[in-house]
Symmetry: C2
Amino acid sequence: MQGPLEPAFVLVRPQMGENVGAAARAMWNFGLSRMRLVDPRDGWPNPRAVAMASGAGRVLDGAQVHADLAGAVGDCTFVYATTARPRDLTKTVFSPEEAARDMVRRIAEGERVAVLFGPERAGLENADVARANAIVSVDVNPEFPSLNLAQCVLLVGYEWRRATHAAPPVREEMAGTERASALEVDHLARHYEERLEEAGFFFPGHKAESMKMSLRNLWSRMPLTVQDVQTLHGVLRQMVRWARHRPE
Amino acid sequence: MQGPLEPAFVLVRPQMGENVGAAARAMWNFGLSRMRLVDPRDGWPNPRAVAMASGAGRVLDGAQVHADLAGAVGDCTFVYATTARPRDLTKTVFSPEEAARDMVRRIAEGERVAVLFGPERAGLENADVARANAIVSVDVNPEFPSLNLAQCVLLVGYEWRRATHAAPPVREEMAGTERASALEVDHLARHYEERLEEAGFFFPGHKAESMKMSLRNLWSRMPLTVQDVQTLHGVLRQMVRWARHRPE
């Protein structure tokens, strides 16, 4: 039996509507839209939440509101509680990355999972954490561990997207060109070598060979594109033109 | 020659002081404190930045202010530009995770690195990106790619901390107890089996063995602590006490 394909994010007793709106934005930044609210302090719907969520209003439109946490997670088979402070509760503690992987695995097996986020001021109460199956904790600077609600939502959402969308860790933006071939780089090197020879660059003579070698190595070391090679040919041609036709 | 042990975060032409303050908080959440500001719109120092940064004021106190980007990164040997939009510029594009690893490697080799963050409304200009050696891009929901300044700072800071502080991906919070031994679980299983036998639980008789097996398997499957085992012995003892002494 397959449940929803993404976790529900449960905001437990959120205080300011602005923060609910910011959380909605952070969810939708990473493609998440299943929000649940437990007993929001300022009632629901909340115009401040709507104003802050601009562009992510669909997350608020679809939000479920529950009177208590038990009702909000009643249909879930695995619940993660986000908390910064250590609790005196025996429980598995996941990093956000590992929690996201665990969610992906459970959802693939048909589980229905939720992530709890506490109120702005003090976070989840121990009674809330005791209802969860595991803890998610962000490793922060111990001198300044205070992440706000939307930031915490953002980091879990970020890891959810990383776990579900394998984006390339490094890619080359080629902007319509491509890497120059060795032959093109060789032509460029010879063009410079010949004109610089003519210009008297390789001086004194006993250093000429090592100077040429250094210049050749410089070209090879650069990640030159076809466009770059053309540009550098053009630069040299223009300097030659200028040198040959400069006023006496 | 060793430079600073962390990247500088350069906010290029930031607009609202609040956002500079929020960026300072996000940096300090992950232990980063080298902020540089290029031509902040509302001048510097900025009381709104100070109010928003509460707890991370030291980041603002140490911030350098520069008139232009060239001055802000003049001492750096490698500069990353954060950008969501693709640019028509040939350049390597890192994920935040891979960028953080690259920073760690370069800093270990004595390089001085900086990360550029653009103004709130439109992000970095192409002229800014052309000054950088590489791009950092967060993979977001293409339908809603707008990350705000502090969120972008938060995600790069988060990856910096992950690359420099190897926090355990999963750990068990034992809250002062430890996992029960097989012997302890065995005693528990036998305690329940004996009392449930007495209470007539294993009925009908031809199912008794498979019922006992299921119960034994239940105990083994639970991640029981020494404390849990004691609690479960206590639960059973109390039920037995109640059963034996209940009023007729």
